[in-house]
Amino acid sequence: MARRGGAPEVSAGSMADIAFLLLIFFLVTTTIETDAGLDRMLPPIEPPDTDVVIKEKNIFQVNINKSGQLLADDNLIDLKDLRAKAMDFLDNNGDKSCAYCKGKSNPDSSDNPDKAIISLKNDRETKYSTYITVQNELVGAYNDLRNRESMRLFKRPFVQLEADYLNPETDSDVKDELKEKVQRIQKLFPQKLSEAETSSSN
């Protein structure tokens, strides 16, 4: 039988169902990846040519034992006090050469932020989560001090400046300006966090 009025239209009513099916598939399989973390530089394997002599008072020694207890400069301390302790140490300004520091100028603590070194040691049995928590507190101490200086100089926190600087969507001329600011703050409180080789104390 000849058709009148052309071919019949295909019903599009089930299109929504098909789209829903696909939608649900993607909803279920999506994992929005979280690739962020704590950046660290490992020390190069070759030892430096000249032996650098560092004064005892310029090193803030943090030790983590296998049950997760903390020893900071030979005192057993609580994790929640670590950040304040580290900040006191970095900000101490023992030789009074640091104009922006607000520390107590204790002669037995660090000379200035440029010389202050935090050394982190851990046991082979230490749990990774404890280690990360301690690392986080120490990086936090640096960030807090840098934020303070950044607020004073540029009226914006340092972490925000740095995030904008690292963001690939920022314009290049803004980036150049930010780079200068970021480097200036980094120079005020250089991050000197040494990761010595793990000791085994059995």
Partner: protein, 160 residues
């Protein structure tokens, strides 16, 4: 006879569903574009710890990922229960790790090789001994830029 008929009680008009497919398609395209397919099949338990002071990793093409953790149940018979290292899709022995990392670096285009970062995805229950060994291997092959990849969140949950 009046010209105007009184309307009978009318039903409320139905909402047109003709634009429903469009809305669903919009959502569908959103999810299709943001979806990242997993590159590696995890063979180790990999629950990352939390941290607050984190920095985003740079572009994906300059990151090499190393997973560390206990093998998942399926592999515990053959691999044991001790924490293991996984790169790409296979288990790697500590002694081969340096070579594998160098191989992975050499697969990257030359202009990116200077910027390569190693992302360490370590299960929070792993102990530092193995990680110290891994760090030592990485120092030997001169891959010094590392990132302890974590979730963003309260660190107090790490200690449970």
């Amino acid at each position: 006879m009046s010209k105007f008929k009184f309307k009978k009680a009318t039903k409320t008009p139905e909402v047109s569903t003709a634009s429903l497919p469009d809305i669903v398609f919009m959502l569908l395209f959103f999810f299709m574009t943001v979806t990242v397919m997993k590159e590696d099949t995890l063979k180790v338990v990999n629950e990352l710890p939390n941290a607050t002071e984190i920095k985003k990793l740079e572009k994906k093409d300059r990151v090499i990922t190393i997973y560390i953790g206990k093998p998942v149940d399926k592999f515990q018979e053959t691999q044991g229960e001790q924490a293991k290292i996984q790169m790409e899709d296979s288990f790697v022995n500590l002694s081969d790790l340096g070579a594998r990392v160098l191989e992975a670096v050499n697969e990257k285009p030359e202009h990116l090789r200077a910027f390569i970062a190693i992302s360490l995805k370590v299960d929070k229950k792993a102990s530092m001994g193995l990680i110290a060994d891994v760090k030592e291997e990485l120092r030997i092959v001169n891959a010094l830029k590392i990132n302890y990849t974590t979730y963003e969140g309260d660190t107090s949950k790490n200690l449970e």
